[in-house]
Protein backbone atom coordinates (compact mmCIF):
# COMPACT_ATOMS: atom_id res chain seq x y z
CA UNK A 1 0.00 0.00 0.00
CA UNK A 2 2.83 2.34 0.98
CA UNK A 3 4.57 1.59 -2.31
CA UNK A 4 1.48 2.56 -4.28
CA UNK A 5 1.40 5.88 -2.39
CA UNK A 6 5.00 6.55 -3.33
CA UNK A 7 4.34 5.66 -6.96
CA UNK A 8 1.35 8.00 -7.03
CA UNK A 9 3.35 10.84 -5.49
CA UNK A 10 6.13 10.23 -8.01
CA UNK A 11 3.70 10.26 -10.95
CA UNK A 12 2.00 13.48 -9.77
CA UNK A 13 5.40 15.13 -9.23
CA UNK A 14 6.56 14.08 -12.71
CA UNK A 15 3.36 15.40 -14.25
CA UNK A 16 3.73 18.72 -12.43
CA UNK A 17 7.36 19.00 -13.50
CA UNK A 18 6.36 18.12 -17.05
CA UNK A 19 3.75 20.87 -17.16
CA UNK A 20 6.17 23.37 -15.61
CA UNK A 21 9.00 22.39 -17.97
CA UNK A 22 6.75 22.51 -21.01
CA UNK A 23 5.54 25.98 -20.10
CA UNK A 24 9.14 27.13 -19.53
CA UNK A 25 10.23 25.78 -22.92
CA UNK A 26 7.25 27.42 -24.55
CA UNK A 27 8.05 30.73 -22.91
CA UNK A 28 11.66 30.48 -24.12
CA UNK A 29 10.75 29.44 -27.63
CA UNK A 30 9.65 32.16 -30.02
CA UNK A 31 7.22 29.88 -31.79
CA UNK A 32 3.64 31.02 -32.12
CA UNK A 33 1.44 30.07 -29.19
CA UNK A 34 -1.68 28.22 -30.17
CA UNK A 35 -4.72 28.91 -28.07
CA UNK A 36 -6.90 26.06 -26.91
CA UNK A 37 -9.39 25.63 -29.65
CA UNK A 38 -12.91 26.25 -28.56
CA UNK A 39 -14.90 23.40 -30.03
CA UNK A 40 -18.08 25.40 -30.27
CA UNK A 41 -16.16 28.34 -31.54
CA UNK A 42 -15.13 26.18 -34.44
CA UNK A 43 -18.80 25.99 -35.33
CA UNK A 44 -19.56 29.62 -34.77
CA UNK A 45 -16.36 31.09 -36.06
CA UNK A 46 -15.90 32.34 -39.53
CA UNK A 47 -19.37 33.75 -39.90
CA UNK A 48 -19.46 35.72 -43.09
CA UNK A 49 -21.25 39.02 -43.30
CA UNK A 50 -24.25 37.28 -44.89
CA UNK A 51 -24.81 34.82 -42.05
CA UNK A 52 -26.55 35.65 -38.78
CA UNK A 53 -24.14 35.86 -35.86
CA UNK A 54 -24.64 33.00 -33.39
CA UNK A 55 -25.15 33.58 -29.69
CA UNK A 56 -26.38 36.64 -27.80
CA UNK A 57 -25.36 39.92 -29.43
CA UNK A 58 -26.43 43.55 -29.36
CA UNK A 59 -27.96 44.55 -32.68
CA UNK A 60 -25.82 47.72 -32.67
CA UNK A 61 -22.75 45.51 -33.17
CA UNK A 62 -24.00 43.71 -36.27
CA UNK A 63 -26.11 46.17 -38.25
CA UNK A 64 -24.50 48.22 -41.03
CA UNK A 65 -22.95 51.57 -40.13
CA UNK A 66 -25.41 54.45 -40.33
CA UNK A 67 -28.07 56.20 -38.28
CA UNK A 68 -29.40 54.18 -35.33
CA UNK A 69 -31.81 54.59 -32.46
CA UNK A 70 -31.12 52.43 -29.39
CA UNK A 71 -29.21 50.07 -31.68
CA UNK A 72 -32.08 49.76 -34.17
CA UNK A 73 -31.24 50.77 -37.73
CA UNK A 74 -32.89 53.87 -39.20
CA UNK A 75 -33.45 53.88 -42.93
CA UNK A 76 -31.90 57.01 -44.46
CA UNK A 77 -34.12 59.59 -46.17
CA UNK A 78 -36.98 59.54 -43.69
CA UNK A 79 -38.83 62.52 -42.20
CA UNK A 80 -39.20 62.38 -38.41
CA UNK A 81 -42.83 62.62 -37.29
CA UNK A 82 -42.61 62.32 -33.53
CA UNK A 83 -39.71 61.67 -31.23
CA UNK A 84 -40.41 60.52 -27.70
CA UNK A 85 -37.93 58.94 -25.31
CA UNK A 86 -39.69 55.56 -25.70
CA UNK A 87 -40.77 55.72 -29.34
CA UNK A 88 -39.61 57.25 -32.62
CA UNK A 89 -41.72 57.67 -35.75
CA UNK A 90 -40.56 58.58 -39.20
CA UNK A 91 -42.03 58.56 -42.67
CA UNK A 92 -40.41 57.42 -45.92
CA UNK A 93 -41.43 58.24 -49.47
CA UNK A 94 -41.07 54.59 -50.41
CA UNK A 95 -43.53 51.70 -50.65
CA UNK A 96 -43.78 49.14 -47.86
CA UNK A 97 -42.00 46.34 -49.77
CA UNK A 98 -38.92 48.46 -50.35
CA UNK A 99 -38.70 49.53 -46.71
CA UNK A 100 -39.15 45.96 -45.50
CA UNK A 101 -36.46 44.75 -47.89
CA UNK A 102 -34.06 47.37 -46.51
CA UNK A 103 -34.77 46.36 -42.89
CA UNK A 104 -34.39 42.67 -43.68
CA UNK A 105 -31.02 43.39 -45.25
CA UNK A 106 -29.96 45.60 -42.31
CA UNK A 107 -30.92 42.97 -39.75
CA UNK A 108 -29.77 39.88 -41.62
CA UNK A 109 -26.84 39.28 -39.27
CA UNK A 110 -28.90 39.87 -36.14
CA UNK A 111 -30.18 36.46 -34.98
CA UNK A 112 -32.79 37.66 -32.48
CA UNK A 113 -35.11 39.62 -34.76
CA UNK A 114 -38.46 37.91 -35.20
CA UNK A 115 -40.79 38.97 -37.98
CA UNK A 116 -44.51 38.97 -37.25
CA UNK A 117 -46.46 39.62 -40.41
CA UNK A 118 -49.70 41.24 -39.28
CA UNK A 119 -52.53 42.55 -41.43
CA UNK A 120 -51.70 46.25 -41.16
CA UNK A 121 -48.04 46.17 -40.22
CA UNK A 122 -44.86 44.14 -40.10
CA UNK A 123 -43.83 43.83 -36.46
CA UNK A 124 -40.11 43.12 -36.11
CA UNK A 125 -39.60 42.09 -32.52
CA UNK A 126 -36.28 41.94 -30.71
CA UNK A 127 -35.82 38.78 -28.67
CA UNK A 128 -32.21 39.44 -27.83
CA UNK A 129 -30.45 41.83 -25.52
CA UNK A 130 -30.82 45.04 -27.53
CA UNK A 131 -32.29 48.24 -26.17
CA UNK A 132 -35.10 48.46 -28.70
CA UNK A 133 -38.14 46.23 -28.53
CA UNK A 134 -39.76 46.53 -31.96
CA UNK A 135 -39.59 48.07 -35.39
CA UNK A 136 -43.11 48.49 -36.76
CA UNK A 137 -43.44 49.04 -40.51
CA UNK A 138 -46.88 50.19 -41.57
CA UNK A 139 -48.49 48.53 -44.60
CA UNK A 140 -51.31 51.02 -45.12
CA UNK A 141 -49.56 54.13 -46.38
CA UNK A 142 -49.54 53.38 -50.13
CA UNK A 143 -46.49 55.09 -51.66
CA UNK A 144 -45.46 56.31 -48.20
CA UNK A 145 -44.44 54.11 -45.29
CA UNK A 146 -44.34 54.92 -41.60
CA UNK A 147 -41.75 53.24 -39.43
CA UNK A 148 -42.05 53.21 -35.65
CA UNK A 149 -39.18 52.24 -33.39
CA UNK A 150 -40.18 51.19 -29.86
CA UNK A 151 -37.85 51.09 -26.87
CA UNK A 152 -37.59 47.88 -24.83
CA UNK A 153 -40.14 47.90 -22.04
CA UNK A 154 -41.11 45.91 -18.99
CA UNK A 155 -44.84 46.14 -19.68
CA UNK A 156 -44.44 43.78 -22.58
CA UNK A 157 -42.33 41.32 -20.60
CA UNK A 158 -44.72 41.29 -17.63
CA UNK A 159 -47.77 40.99 -19.84
CA UNK A 160 -46.39 38.07 -21.82
CA UNK A 161 -45.31 36.27 -18.65
CA UNK A 162 -48.67 36.65 -16.92
CA UNK A 163 -50.49 35.48 -20.05
CA UNK A 164 -48.25 32.45 -20.34
CA UNK A 165 -48.56 31.51 -16.67
CA UNK A 166 -52.33 31.69 -16.99
CA UNK A 167 -51.95 29.71 -20.21
CA UNK A 168 -50.38 26.80 -18.30
CA UNK A 169 -53.40 26.79 -15.96
CA UNK A 170 -55.76 26.88 -18.93
CA UNK A 171 -54.03 23.90 -20.57
CA UNK A 172 -54.19 21.84 -17.38
CA UNK A 173 -57.76 22.98 -16.63
CA UNK A 174 -58.86 21.75 -20.05
CA UNK A 175 -57.07 18.49 -19.40
CA UNK A 176 -58.76 18.25 -15.99
CA UNK A 177 -62.16 18.73 -17.61
CA UNK A 178 -61.30 16.17 -20.30
CA UNK A 179 -60.29 13.62 -17.67
CA UNK A 180 -63.41 14.31 -15.58
CA UNK A 181 -65.71 13.88 -18.55
CA UNK A 182 -63.95 10.73 -19.78
CA UNK A 183 -63.88 9.33 -16.23
CA UNK A 184 -67.61 10.02 -15.78
CA UNK A 185 -68.62 8.19 -18.95
CA UNK A 186 -66.24 5.27 -18.46
CA UNK A 187 -67.35 4.71 -14.88
CA UNK A 188 -70.99 4.78 -16.01
CA UNK A 189 -70.26 2.27 -18.75
CA UNK A 190 -68.53 -0.05 -16.29
CA UNK A 191 -71.48 0.19 -13.88
CA UNK A 192 -73.91 -0.63 -16.68
CA UNK A 193 -71.81 -3.61 -17.75
CA UNK A 194 -71.75 -4.91 -14.16
CA UNK A 195 -75.53 -4.50 -13.85
CA UNK A 196 -76.08 -6.34 -17.14
CA UNK A 197 -73.74 -9.13 -16.04
CA UNK A 198 -75.57 -9.50 -12.71
CA UNK A 199 -78.95 -9.65 -14.46
Amino acid sequence: MKKIKYYLIAIVTLLALGVLGANLIQATSEGPKEAITNPQGAQTGGATSAEPVKGPVDSADVIPKGPQWMGAPIMPGGTPLTGEPTRQNYELNLPYAQVLAWYKEALKRYPDARYRDWKEEMYIEDQGGSKWHAIIISKTGGPKTTVTLVKDNWTWIWATLVIRFIGVFVVLLVLWMGLNIAGFFIQRLIKEEKTTAKA
Binding site: N23, V168, V171, W176, G183
Partner: protein, 381 residues
Amino acid sequence: MSLNELLDLLMGTLQTTGFIYVGWKVVVMWCIGLFFLYMAIVKEFEPNLLLPIGFGIFLVNFPNTPLFGYTEGHPQLLQFFYKYGIIWEVIPCLIFLGLGAMTDFGPLIANPKMLLIGAGAQLGVFVTFTGTILLGFTIKEAASVGIIGGADGPTTIYLTARLAPHLLSANTLAAYSYMAMVPLIQPPIMRWMTTDAERKIQMKTTLRPVSKTEKILYPLICGGIIALLVPAVMPLMGMFMFGNLMKESGVVPRLTATAGGPMMDVVTIFLGLSVGASMVAEQFLSFKPLMVFGLGLFDFAVCTAGGILTVKVMNLFVKDKINPLIGNSGVSAIPMAPRVSQVWGLKYNKRNYLLMHAMGACLGGSIGSPAAAGMLLAMFD
Protein backbone atom coordinates in the same frame (compact mmCIF):
# COMPACT_ATOMS: atom_id res chain seq x y z
CA MET B 1 22.38 21.56 -33.72
CA SER B 2 21.99 24.99 -32.13
CA LEU B 3 20.09 25.56 -28.88
CA ASN B 4 17.28 27.31 -30.77
CA GLU B 5 16.88 24.35 -33.13
CA LEU B 6 16.80 21.99 -30.16
CA LEU B 7 14.15 24.13 -28.46
CA ASP B 8 12.10 24.19 -31.68
CA LEU B 9 12.31 20.42 -31.91
CA LEU B 10 11.25 20.05 -28.29
CA MET B 11 8.49 22.58 -28.84
CA GLY B 12 7.21 20.70 -31.87
CA THR B 13 7.07 17.49 -29.86
CA LEU B 14 5.43 19.19 -26.92
CA GLN B 15 2.78 20.77 -29.06
CA THR B 16 1.43 17.33 -29.87
CA THR B 17 0.87 16.71 -26.14
CA GLY B 18 -1.54 18.47 -23.84
CA PHE B 19 1.05 19.72 -21.34
CA ILE B 20 1.62 23.25 -22.62
CA TYR B 21 -2.08 24.01 -22.85
CA VAL B 22 -2.83 23.21 -19.22
CA GLY B 23 -4.06 26.39 -17.57
CA TRP B 24 -5.94 27.21 -14.38
CA LYS B 25 -9.34 27.04 -16.07
CA VAL B 26 -8.71 23.50 -17.22
CA VAL B 27 -7.61 22.50 -13.72
CA VAL B 28 -10.78 24.04 -12.26
CA MET B 29 -12.85 21.99 -14.70
CA TRP B 30 -11.02 18.79 -13.71
CA CYS B 31 -11.90 19.56 -10.09
CA ILE B 32 -15.55 20.12 -11.02
CA GLY B 33 -15.58 16.83 -12.92
CA LEU B 34 -13.99 15.00 -10.01
CA PHE B 35 -16.46 16.62 -7.60
CA PHE B 36 -19.38 15.24 -9.61
CA LEU B 37 -17.73 11.82 -9.71
CA TYR B 38 -17.30 12.00 -5.94
CA MET B 39 -20.97 12.93 -5.48
CA ALA B 40 -22.03 10.05 -7.73
CA ILE B 41 -19.73 7.34 -6.40
CA VAL B 42 -19.32 8.19 -2.73
CA LYS B 43 -22.55 10.08 -1.93
CA GLU B 44 -24.66 8.22 -4.54
CA PHE B 45 -26.38 11.46 -5.60
CA GLU B 46 -28.15 10.75 -8.93
CA PRO B 47 -25.27 8.44 -9.94
CA ASN B 48 -26.87 7.47 -13.26
CA LEU B 49 -26.43 11.02 -14.45
CA LEU B 50 -23.70 12.56 -12.36
CA LEU B 51 -21.22 9.78 -13.12
CA PRO B 52 -21.29 10.15 -16.93
CA ILE B 53 -21.56 13.94 -16.62
CA GLY B 54 -18.60 14.09 -14.25
CA PHE B 55 -16.48 11.85 -16.44
CA GLY B 56 -17.49 13.83 -19.54
CA ILE B 57 -16.32 17.06 -17.88
CA PHE B 58 -13.08 15.45 -16.74
CA LEU B 59 -12.32 13.92 -20.12
CA VAL B 60 -13.09 16.79 -22.43
CA ASN B 61 -11.06 19.33 -20.50
CA PHE B 62 -7.77 17.69 -21.27
CA PRO B 63 -6.30 19.89 -24.01
CA ASN B 64 -5.75 18.47 -27.48
CA THR B 65 -8.04 15.48 -26.93
CA PRO B 66 -9.97 14.80 -30.15
CA LEU B 67 -13.30 14.32 -28.39
CA PHE B 68 -15.50 17.37 -28.66
CA GLY B 69 -14.27 19.26 -31.68
CA TYR B 70 -14.28 18.65 -35.40
CA THR B 71 -11.74 16.78 -37.53
CA GLU B 72 -11.84 17.99 -41.12
CA GLY B 73 -15.45 19.02 -40.67
CA HIS B 74 -16.52 15.74 -39.08
CA PRO B 75 -17.66 15.75 -35.46
CA GLN B 76 -15.41 13.92 -33.03
CA LEU B 77 -16.85 11.17 -30.81
CA LEU B 78 -18.53 13.18 -28.02
CA GLN B 79 -19.36 16.03 -30.40
CA PHE B 80 -21.16 13.42 -32.48
CA PHE B 81 -23.30 12.32 -29.52
CA TYR B 82 -23.91 15.95 -28.59
CA LYS B 83 -24.80 17.13 -32.07
CA TYR B 84 -27.13 14.34 -33.06
CA GLY B 85 -28.45 13.56 -29.58
CA ILE B 86 -28.92 16.94 -27.99
CA ILE B 87 -28.71 19.67 -30.61
CA TRP B 88 -31.03 17.64 -32.81
CA GLU B 89 -33.21 17.09 -29.72
CA VAL B 90 -33.40 13.32 -30.08
CA ILE B 91 -32.28 12.34 -26.58
CA PRO B 92 -34.82 14.40 -24.55
CA CYS B 93 -37.65 12.96 -26.62
CA LEU B 94 -36.37 9.39 -26.20
CA ILE B 95 -36.10 9.95 -22.46
CA PHE B 96 -39.73 11.05 -22.43
CA LEU B 97 -40.63 7.89 -24.36
CA GLY B 98 -38.92 5.79 -21.69
CA LEU B 99 -40.52 7.80 -18.88
CA GLY B 100 -43.93 7.30 -20.44
CA ALA B 101 -43.33 3.56 -20.54
CA MET B 102 -42.51 3.60 -16.81
CA THR B 103 -45.20 5.98 -15.54
CA ASP B 104 -48.49 4.99 -13.99
CA PHE B 105 -50.89 7.92 -14.37
CA GLY B 106 -53.45 6.18 -12.11
CA PRO B 107 -53.10 8.63 -9.17
CA LEU B 108 -53.64 11.58 -11.49
CA ILE B 109 -56.60 10.04 -13.35
CA ALA B 110 -58.22 9.17 -10.02
CA ASN B 111 -57.78 12.71 -8.73
CA PRO B 112 -57.33 15.03 -11.74
CA LYS B 113 -57.56 18.25 -9.72
CA MET B 114 -53.94 17.58 -8.77
CA LEU B 115 -53.10 18.86 -12.25
CA LEU B 116 -53.61 22.38 -10.93
CA ILE B 117 -50.81 21.95 -8.40
CA GLY B 118 -48.56 21.06 -11.33
CA ALA B 119 -49.64 24.27 -13.04
CA GLY B 120 -49.11 26.41 -9.92
CA ALA B 121 -45.64 25.02 -9.46
CA GLN B 122 -44.61 26.62 -12.74
CA LEU B 123 -44.70 30.00 -10.95
CA GLY B 124 -40.93 29.94 -10.52
CA VAL B 125 -40.41 29.51 -14.25
CA PHE B 126 -42.00 32.88 -14.90
CA VAL B 127 -40.67 34.69 -11.82
CA THR B 128 -37.11 33.59 -12.55
CA PHE B 129 -37.55 34.68 -16.14
CA THR B 130 -37.96 38.28 -14.92
CA GLY B 131 -35.06 38.06 -12.48
CA THR B 132 -32.82 36.60 -15.15
CA ILE B 133 -33.54 39.46 -17.54
CA LEU B 134 -32.75 41.94 -14.75
CA LEU B 135 -29.32 40.31 -14.46
CA GLY B 136 -28.58 41.04 -18.09
CA PHE B 137 -29.55 37.79 -19.80
CA THR B 138 -31.40 37.91 -23.12
CA ILE B 139 -35.07 36.91 -23.33
CA LYS B 140 -34.28 33.53 -24.85
CA GLU B 141 -31.62 32.83 -22.23
CA ALA B 142 -34.06 33.86 -19.50
CA ALA B 143 -36.68 31.44 -20.81
CA SER B 144 -34.18 28.59 -20.85
CA VAL B 145 -33.00 29.35 -17.30
CA GLY B 146 -36.56 29.73 -16.03
CA ILE B 147 -37.57 26.22 -17.01
CA ILE B 148 -34.98 24.72 -14.59
CA GLY B 149 -37.44 25.21 -11.72
CA GLY B 150 -39.85 22.71 -13.21
CA ALA B 151 -37.30 20.05 -12.20
CA ASP B 152 -37.73 18.34 -15.51
CA GLY B 153 -34.35 17.48 -17.05
CA PRO B 154 -35.42 16.48 -20.57
CA THR B 155 -37.68 19.54 -20.91
CA THR B 156 -34.83 21.78 -19.75
CA ILE B 157 -32.53 20.24 -22.35
CA TYR B 158 -35.15 20.46 -25.07
CA LEU B 159 -35.95 24.13 -24.45
CA THR B 160 -32.36 25.22 -23.91
CA ALA B 161 -31.14 23.45 -27.06
CA ARG B 162 -33.72 25.44 -29.00
CA LEU B 163 -33.38 28.85 -27.34
CA ALA B 164 -29.92 29.19 -25.79
CA PRO B 165 -27.65 26.25 -26.72
CA HIS B 166 -24.62 27.97 -25.20
CA LEU B 167 -26.22 27.54 -21.75
CA LEU B 168 -27.08 23.89 -22.26
CA SER B 169 -24.46 22.39 -19.99
CA ALA B 170 -25.06 24.84 -17.16
CA ASN B 171 -28.85 24.54 -17.33
CA THR B 172 -28.83 20.75 -17.53
CA LEU B 173 -26.39 20.42 -14.71
CA ALA B 174 -28.34 22.85 -12.54
CA ALA B 175 -31.62 21.04 -13.27
CA TYR B 176 -30.29 17.59 -12.41
CA SER B 177 -28.29 18.79 -9.41
CA TYR B 178 -31.28 20.49 -7.84
CA MET B 179 -33.47 17.47 -8.58
CA ALA B 180 -31.02 15.39 -6.59
CA MET B 181 -31.13 17.96 -3.81
CA VAL B 182 -34.92 18.02 -3.46
CA PRO B 183 -34.79 16.53 0.08
CA LEU B 184 -32.50 19.38 1.14
CA ILE B 185 -34.10 22.32 -0.68
CA GLN B 186 -37.82 21.72 -0.27
CA PRO B 187 -38.42 20.94 3.45
CA PRO B 188 -37.44 24.41 4.80
CA ILE B 189 -39.79 26.06 2.29
CA MET B 190 -42.59 23.62 3.15
CA ARG B 191 -42.14 24.33 6.85
CA TRP B 192 -41.97 28.07 6.34
CA MET B 193 -45.09 28.26 4.19
CA THR B 194 -47.45 26.04 6.18
CA THR B 195 -49.03 26.19 9.62
CA ASP B 196 -49.09 23.30 12.06
CA ALA B 197 -52.81 22.80 11.49
CA GLU B 198 -52.36 22.67 7.73
CA ARG B 199 -49.62 20.06 7.98
CA LYS B 200 -51.95 17.83 9.97
CA ILE B 201 -54.75 17.84 7.38
CA GLN B 202 -55.77 14.22 6.91
CA MET B 203 -56.28 13.13 3.32
CA LYS B 204 -58.06 10.01 2.07
CA THR B 205 -55.79 7.00 2.36
CA THR B 206 -57.07 5.41 -0.84
CA LEU B 207 -57.98 6.77 -4.26
CA ARG B 208 -60.79 5.47 -6.44
CA PRO B 209 -59.79 2.49 -8.60
CA VAL B 210 -58.92 3.44 -12.17
CA SER B 211 -60.04 1.08 -14.92
CA LYS B 212 -57.74 -0.15 -17.69
CA THR B 213 -59.89 1.63 -20.29
CA GLU B 214 -59.32 4.97 -18.54
CA LYS B 215 -55.60 4.35 -18.45
CA ILE B 216 -55.55 3.52 -22.16
CA LEU B 217 -57.64 6.55 -23.02
CA TYR B 218 -55.52 8.92 -20.91
CA PRO B 219 -52.53 9.22 -23.31
CA LEU B 220 -54.94 9.78 -26.20
CA ILE B 221 -56.94 12.48 -24.39
CA CYS B 222 -53.90 14.17 -22.87
CA GLY B 223 -51.90 13.94 -26.10
CA GLY B 224 -54.80 15.33 -28.12
CA ILE B 225 -55.45 18.26 -25.77
CA ILE B 226 -51.79 19.24 -25.53
CA ALA B 227 -51.38 18.91 -29.30
CA LEU B 228 -54.26 21.32 -29.83
CA LEU B 229 -53.28 23.83 -27.14
CA VAL B 230 -49.47 23.76 -27.11
CA PRO B 231 -48.34 22.07 -30.34
CA ALA B 232 -44.78 23.35 -29.92
CA VAL B 233 -44.08 20.80 -27.21
CA MET B 234 -45.49 17.75 -28.98
CA PRO B 235 -42.13 16.13 -29.76
CA LEU B 236 -41.77 15.66 -25.99
CA MET B 237 -45.38 15.05 -25.03
CA GLY B 238 -46.06 12.87 -28.06
CA MET B 239 -43.26 10.52 -27.06
CA PHE B 240 -44.36 10.62 -23.40
CA MET B 241 -47.89 9.64 -24.30
CA PHE B 242 -46.76 7.02 -26.81
CA GLY B 243 -44.59 5.34 -24.17
CA ASN B 244 -47.51 5.40 -21.76
CA LEU B 245 -49.92 3.98 -24.33
CA MET B 246 -47.51 1.08 -24.97
CA LYS B 247 -47.45 0.39 -21.23
CA GLU B 248 -51.15 0.68 -20.54
CA SER B 249 -52.31 -1.18 -23.64
CA GLY B 250 -50.40 -4.22 -22.40
CA VAL B 251 -50.12 -5.62 -25.92
CA VAL B 252 -46.46 -4.76 -26.51
CA PRO B 253 -44.71 -5.88 -23.31
CA ARG B 254 -41.34 -6.31 -25.03
CA LEU B 255 -41.41 -2.80 -26.51
CA THR B 256 -42.48 -1.35 -23.18
CA ALA B 257 -39.72 -3.16 -21.33
CA THR B 258 -37.14 -2.01 -23.87
CA ALA B 259 -38.32 1.62 -23.86
CA GLY B 260 -38.32 1.81 -20.07
CA GLY B 261 -35.20 -0.30 -19.58
CA PRO B 262 -32.30 -0.80 -21.99
CA MET B 263 -33.21 2.11 -24.29
CA MET B 264 -33.46 4.46 -21.33
CA ASP B 265 -30.09 3.27 -20.05
CA VAL B 266 -28.38 3.74 -23.41
CA VAL B 267 -29.86 7.20 -23.87
CA THR B 268 -28.87 8.18 -20.32
CA ILE B 269 -25.25 7.24 -21.00
CA PHE B 270 -25.14 9.37 -24.16
CA LEU B 271 -26.96 12.22 -22.45
CA GLY B 272 -24.65 12.31 -19.44
CA LEU B 273 -21.45 12.08 -21.46
CA SER B 274 -22.52 14.69 -24.00
CA VAL B 275 -23.71 17.17 -21.38
CA GLY B 276 -20.50 16.73 -19.40
CA ALA B 277 -18.44 17.09 -22.57
CA SER B 278 -20.17 20.34 -23.45
CA MET B 279 -18.72 21.90 -20.29
CA VAL B 280 -15.56 23.24 -21.91
CA ALA B 281 -13.53 25.48 -19.59
CA GLU B 282 -13.53 28.53 -21.87
CA GLN B 283 -17.30 28.56 -22.06
CA PHE B 284 -18.32 27.29 -18.66
CA LEU B 285 -16.12 29.50 -16.49
CA SER B 286 -17.83 32.73 -17.37
CA PHE B 287 -20.44 34.96 -15.77
CA LYS B 288 -23.65 33.60 -17.25
CA PRO B 289 -23.20 29.83 -16.78
CA LEU B 290 -22.12 30.39 -13.18
CA MET B 291 -25.09 32.66 -12.52
CA VAL B 292 -27.39 29.92 -13.80
CA PHE B 293 -26.71 27.87 -10.67
CA GLY B 294 -27.83 30.67 -8.35
CA LEU B 295 -30.86 31.44 -10.46
CA GLY B 296 -31.76 27.75 -10.72
CA LEU B 297 -31.84 27.43 -6.93
CA PHE B 298 -34.08 30.48 -6.61
CA ASP B 299 -36.27 29.11 -9.40
CA PHE B 300 -36.62 25.77 -7.69
CA ALA B 301 -37.57 27.44 -4.40
CA VAL B 302 -40.23 29.63 -6.07
CA CYS B 303 -41.67 26.63 -7.95
CA THR B 304 -41.97 24.75 -4.64
CA ALA B 305 -43.64 27.78 -3.06
CA GLY B 306 -45.94 28.10 -6.08
CA GLY B 307 -47.18 24.53 -5.63
CA ILE B 308 -47.86 25.08 -1.92
CA LEU B 309 -49.64 28.38 -2.59
CA THR B 310 -51.83 26.70 -5.20
CA VAL B 311 -52.93 24.08 -2.65
CA LYS B 312 -53.79 26.87 -0.21
CA VAL B 313 -55.89 28.63 -2.83
CA MET B 314 -57.57 25.34 -3.82
CA ASN B 315 -58.43 24.72 -0.16
CA LEU B 316 -60.60 27.84 -0.24
CA PHE B 317 -62.88 26.13 -2.75
CA VAL B 318 -62.74 22.35 -2.25
CA LYS B 319 -64.76 20.33 0.28
CA ASP B 320 -62.09 17.73 1.06
CA LYS B 321 -59.13 19.82 2.17
CA ILE B 322 -55.74 19.12 0.62
CA ASN B 323 -52.62 18.93 2.77
CA PRO B 324 -50.30 21.70 1.51
CA LEU B 325 -47.32 19.44 2.16
CA ILE B 326 -48.05 17.87 -1.24
CA GLY B 327 -47.65 21.27 -2.93
CA ASN B 328 -43.91 20.77 -3.26
CA SER B 329 -44.61 17.78 -5.52
CA GLY B 330 -45.93 20.09 -8.22
CA VAL B 331 -42.37 20.17 -9.52
CA SER B 332 -41.89 17.04 -11.58
CA ALA B 333 -39.05 15.49 -9.58
CA ILE B 334 -40.33 11.91 -9.45
CA PRO B 335 -39.99 10.15 -6.98
CA MET B 336 -37.99 12.49 -4.75
CA ALA B 337 -40.61 15.23 -4.27
CA PRO B 338 -43.53 12.88 -3.42
CA ARG B 339 -41.24 11.03 -1.04
CA VAL B 340 -40.48 14.30 0.77
CA SER B 341 -44.24 14.98 1.02
CA GLN B 342 -44.83 11.51 2.46
CA VAL B 343 -42.02 11.75 5.03
CA TRP B 344 -43.05 15.23 6.20
CA GLY B 345 -46.74 14.31 6.24
CA LEU B 346 -46.03 11.38 8.53
CA LYS B 347 -43.94 13.58 10.80
CA TYR B 348 -46.96 15.71 11.68
CA ASN B 349 -49.70 13.07 11.48
CA LYS B 350 -48.76 9.43 11.91
CA ARG B 351 -51.84 8.24 10.02
CA ASN B 352 -51.44 10.54 7.04
CA TYR B 353 -50.23 8.81 3.90
CA LEU B 354 -49.69 11.51 1.29
CA LEU B 355 -47.67 9.55 -1.24
CA MET B 356 -50.43 8.76 -3.75
CA HIS B 357 -51.78 12.33 -3.66
CA ALA B 358 -48.28 13.74 -4.02
CA MET B 359 -47.67 11.41 -6.97
CA GLY B 360 -50.76 12.89 -8.61
CA ALA B 361 -49.40 16.41 -8.13
CA CYS B 362 -46.01 15.33 -9.43
CA LEU B 363 -47.55 13.80 -12.53
CA GLY B 364 -49.42 17.08 -12.97
CA GLY B 365 -46.04 18.79 -12.82
CA SER B 366 -44.69 16.45 -15.48
CA ILE B 367 -47.42 17.77 -17.78
CA GLY B 368 -47.25 21.37 -16.50
CA SER B 369 -43.55 21.75 -17.08
CA PRO B 370 -43.63 20.81 -20.81
CA ALA B 371 -46.75 22.96 -21.14
CA ALA B 372 -44.80 25.94 -19.75
CA ALA B 373 -41.91 25.09 -22.08
CA GLY B 374 -44.34 24.96 -24.99
CA MET B 375 -45.63 28.42 -24.08
CA LEU B 376 -42.11 29.81 -24.07
CA LEU B 377 -41.20 28.01 -27.29
CA ALA B 378 -44.26 29.31 -29.07
CA MET B 379 -43.23 32.80 -28.07
CA PHE B 380 -39.50 32.82 -28.63
CA ASP B 381 -38.53 30.03 -31.02
